[in-house]
Amino acid sequence: MKKIVALCVALLILPALSAFAANIKIGLMAPLTGSYASEGADMRRVVELLAEELNNKGGVNGSKIEIIVQDDGSDVKTAASAAQRLATSEVCAVIGTYGSAVTESAQNIYNRNKILHVATGSTSVRLSEKGFPYFFRTCPRDDEQGLVATSTLHKFGYKNIAILHDNTAYAVGLAEEIKAGLEKAGTAKIVAYDALQPNERDYSAILTRLRGAAPDVIFFTGYYPEAAMLLRQMREIGWKIPMYGGDATNNSDLIKIGGASVVAGFRLISPPMPGDLNSKAAADFILAYTNKYRAVPSSIWSVLAGDAFKVIVEAIGKTGSTDADKMADYLHTKLNNFEGLTGAISFDAKGDRVGDLYRLYEVNSRGEFVLQ
């Protein structure tokens, strides 16, 4: 009889034990296909590299980390179903994603399922204004970017400014910020405020239209594929005015599509590039990344995915739990100047990252992004 009881007890304890030693699952939602596919590939490499390093050191709280990757297809509909799949695969937290509109379509799903959600490249202001308690982001917000953009345009003395966006949630948000900033400052005139259709090839019609308004600078708030096409076609029609871009133009594919000689001189507002991060953690990370993949990360956004991974692991480690409420509470109130890859990380009550990150970059004739 005793034996049977002991066996029963053992059977009861066994699942509990194995649950303790089981892997902790963290989801990664990234654009592996679609327009932003090169961002997604890097996000995956960065997060998998960090997870591997951590697991080799024994994991967190004695558990290994398992990364579950879902493709958001750079598309809002695909992202919603990717989020559903992650929500049903028992992840405690999700990293991602890049585009703001794409993140927005997944936000509700994570919130409803009580999953900690750390976005990595989605800078649209409204994402953190919805009061979702489990939402965080390691990237800065567009209102800050708007301020830096406005002061940059002001600093270089542009008087007639054309603002161009592409109707995506992110680009419209940033364009509105810059417009409001310029109107408030009152030193420059907005001569054109327009939108182009993303995913096309011929932007000559919009360029001709802008040219009619005679601006002395164009600020494009959209993404790198369109920025590259705009620069090429400006060159072709012989229109020589400077163009500035927002942080979504920060990707080495900008050079690949546009060609270094065409893109040279293009300036962009962006968080620091991976190579310009000067902490030891960043240097070690870049070294490990280069050793493994024989290339540096093509933009800062994938490194911010690495930071998202690090803060999630920190929250799991410090709270000893994978409960979303406990982790969110820890990140909101106790995480203070945590040493991430891109510098010190703290979050405010809305889950936004605290601190100023934006810098001005210029593309040189070799196609490199140079800090100004």
Binding site: A205, T208, E236, D253, K256
Partner: protein, 301 residues
């Protein structure tokens, strides 16, 4: 006024691409009453093949640029013509005597297959044509800055269209194509090998689509596996505007759509460009369902 003419030239260049693709739709429709939805993806395929030939055969370095481009054009047109031929044999020939809807569904399937095959083979990212072949300067024509590439692009597409027009109007084979389009049964009685003519049409159409793909790659530089969907759709609209089944109609429809889109982008809003294209389609279908140059009543698909 300068801006108006500038926009006009912008529209013509895009219109040339639309027209070349529209020819493939219209020719197939003419002989088979079938909308070949896979045509847009054959166009993408041509674009990718052009890039592959340029890079892997080092055409861009070893030969004078003009010769390299001509050879590449011929190679791509040949390869895409062959795939058009195979497509017809695999996806349409077995369904020749089934209801027409079956063939349309088969066409949609072929389109999805081709698009995904290209994605799996080349990857989902943007691909870029080598820069060395592009001429990024522009010439001043009567006060307009017109990029040289744009003039070349428009000339090549007009040249190809003229060649096709003379082929169908003046040669024996061309007459046979027109005969099959008018009445298949009668054409057969006159001793025309209808299956051979249909195969021929499935080679000429895709060859022109492939050429359009290369032009697009050379001019814009940036290509992607899914671009066939939108260009195919626009070209399809162009074919309907001009009168589907009618070769000069496809040319006219393509040019017209390109110019109207550019004007819409210029004077209404660039964000409304696509909506405008479909609005034109609706207006044409309501007021002139046969298209501008079409004689036959378009039948429902």
């Amino acid at each position: 006024m300068i801006e108006f003419f500038q926009q006009f030239t912008n529209g013509l260049a895009v219109g040339g691409i639309y027209a070349l693709i529209a020819l493939g739709y219209t020719m197939v429709y003419g002989v088979l009453k079938l909308i070949n939805f896979a045509h847009g993806d054959l166009f993408t395929f041509g674009s990718y093949l052009g890039m592959t030939f340029l890079i892997s055969f080092a055409l861009s370095g070893a030969l004078p640029p003009v010769l390299a481009v001509v050879i590449m054009f011929l190679m791509v047109m040949g390869c895409v013509a062959l795939s058009g031929y195979l497509l017809e044999k695999a996806a349409y020939l077995p369904l020749r005597h089934t209801p027409r809807l079956t063939a349309v569904v088969s066409a949609l399937g072929a389109s999805i297959f081709l698009q995904n095959a290209i994605m799996l083979f080349y990857g989902p990212n943007y691909e870029v044509y080598p820069d060395s072949l592009r001429i990024s300067s522009s010439v001043n024509l009567l006060g307009l800055d017109v990029p040289v590439m744009r003039i070349i692009m428009l000339s090549i597409s007009i040249l190809l269209m003229l060649a096709l027009y003379f082929f169908t109007q003046k040669t024996k084979l061309g007459t046979a194509i027109r005969a099959v389009a008018t009445d298949q049964a009668a054409a057969r009685l006159m001793g025309i090998d209808v299956n051979r003519i249909i195969s021929l049409v499935f080679m000429i159409g895709p060859a022109l689509g492939g050429a359009a793909g290369v032009l697009l790659g050379l001019y814009y530089g940036q290509i992607r596996y899914d671009m066939g969907t939108m260009y195919g759709l626009k070209a399809f609209i162009a074919a309907i505007i001009g009168g589907i089944g009618n070769i000069p109609g496809a040319m006219l429809g393509g040019m017209l759509l390109g110019v109207l889109e550019a004007m819409g982008a210029a004077y209404i809003s660039p964000a409304w460009k696509d909506a405008l294209a479909f609005l034109i389609l609706i207006i044409i279908l309501i007021f002139r369902p046969t298209g501008i140059l079409g004689e036959r009543t378009a039948e429902k698909i």
